[in-house]
Symmetry: C2
Subunit: 337 residues, 2 copies
Amino acid sequence: MAGIKDVAERAGLSVATVSRALSGRGHVSPKSRARAQAAAADLGFVPSYQASSLASGRNYNIGLVVPSVHRWYFASVVEGVSAALLDAGYDLTLYNITERSARRQSVLNDFLLRKRVDAVIAVALALTESEIAQMLAIHRPIVGIGGPLPGASTIRIDDHGLAEAAVNHLIRLGHTRIAHLTGDSTYEQDFKIPRTRLAGYEKAMLAAGLSVRPEWTVTADFTVQGAYAAARSLLGGVTERPTAVFAASDEMAIGTILAARDFGLRVPDDLSVIGMDGHELGALFGLTTIDQDPRGQGALAVRLLLDGLDGGSDQEVLDTEYPTKFVIRSSTAVPPA
Amino acid sequence: MAGIKDVAERAGLSVATVSRALSGRGHVSPKSRARAQAAAADLGFVPSYQASSLASGRNYNIGLVVPSVHRWYFASVVEGVSAALLDAGYDLTLYNITERSARRQSVLNDFLLRKRVDAVIAVALALTESEIAQMLAIHRPIVGIGGPLPGASTIRIDDHGLAEAAVNHLIRLGHTRIAHLTGDSTYEQDFKIPRTRLAGYEKAMLAAGLSVRPEWTVTADFTVQGAYAAARSLLGGVTERPTAVFAASDEMAIGTILAARDFGLRVPDDLSVIGMDGHELGALFGLTTIDQDPRGQGALAVRLLLDGLDGGSDQEVLDTEYPTKFVIRSSTAVPPA
DNA sequence: CACCAAACTGGAAGCGTTTGCAGGCGAGGC
DNA sequence: GCCTCGCCTGCAAACGCTTCCAGTTTGGTG
């Protein structure tokens, strides 16, 4: 394995000059630069990451913490982050923290604090203020996506307002019996979004003078199959059936549509369904939804962090509301007569 | 930021002893170890990764290369790998190489060869022999999952035989008009699995004396929506309709079922569908499939690599056939009369 | 009780870069 | 023609650990 020394020798230059030539930092004459590059290419030289990190303090590596990689939203964020980082020449270290507690703590202590990453993107993860302070203390900026991070920059959508908008869409169509399929409490501590969307639902209902019936707020685990089961009990239950369902995610909306079909209910004739996400499968089901482009959110997070890292000084905390698109398809219509 | 020196000072020990005490390598008296650990805890000491990597040559970091993070199969592998690595105290560096060519090359050169990772797991990625040789030359073991890697260890399932088994299951039920939904050629160069499964399908058909009709082999892009579109043309076309479909993945099988429903075809009464994967959604659709447990494959890959890394010497190349489970549900039955 | 091996410890030499510093050199201004 | 300035270059000192080596202690054995 050729080291920078070998390159220097072959190029007839000093190690320092080669380093500057290859990294682009500092002044190097064009001739020397060419010689260094040629020698490096000849030897197949690749600088050692740990050595260069150690000496320079930069890692070119950012950490991404997600609670799942299966759910569409998270996979999309990962994709967006990954692409943006590859372009920038950064590595992506993925921490998929499925369970709570133990695992989570160890990731924080053993991994994130180990100076291995230059910055952290945390998705739907509620870090405590002290945890955030810890990270910032060692000059590791954090950006949170879809989760409130007190003291750190965040990217989020207007969950409350969008939930309201979704419900209002149904109300405007004439629906009064509107149910809500909300997210699981597995993530309760970390993931406040379900509750925020639920609040938006309730606000819109009350604002329109509609009653929020507790049996019409059902909980599922954010997956298609979970929502399917929940929707079955909602739609097949003994209680009066709603004419519309606002699901807190597209996957749950799809589960609802599948359950409705199984009961012989036509969407949207017998039941309107609206989701939230922008899932690719939405088109297939004609799903009306709010597209939040998580890929773009991931890419934006990277841009924010990288700008900050280059900028040098500690960046300010900023809370970005990511724009969304209301996508009206065929799963919502006026209620049955 | 406290360094090991500070810890040594506080513990009244030498740097060397502290290093040994905390890493567990070498002999240290219980008393010294306790003192070192206490001092480290007091100071909130976390060893610098780059420094320890540089000095020791170990990275505790492995690279995972996947062509997608959205498709269920890949997400599952990522999950399995991630969990296994977290347990082992390793970092996971994710390379999501969506496009071919340029990006792929740069990942290989700029990232994988940079000694940043101790080993590489490549999923459904066909590296050339010279690329593999390059990695092995710098002592970076590789394990391939679901893709042939000449000269490297691999974990795979018996795609050919399993495809045959799936088709034979349909044949035994009495089907003769069996179509095959195969994978896209986007991955053509890297991803040989679709062709292998196709070959298994053809072999089983011919062995049973059934004709392989070209219009009954349709291609989709491995997604639900892609398969849905393909299945629509297959089932709604002018040609004679098959009574059964063998889809090369569960996602494609689900797309097929959705398309069938749209045509008013009942599954399995009018159309039998069999998939391959073990997707969680399969249960919801009553999908008969072959469960290949990609999570387990990911975990196994990690175990293989870590055993090899600990073992020290260059490990031998071994090709592991991962066991699968044939899961019979309700999407397959005897053909309509 | 002497001796030897094994356990333990500390000093110091790396690991392979980056970068501060200072010297050298050519060009431009007076 | 001389001085200054700025670009270029090389030396050497970090960066923060690990580990070899050698020295010291401990425990066990003949």
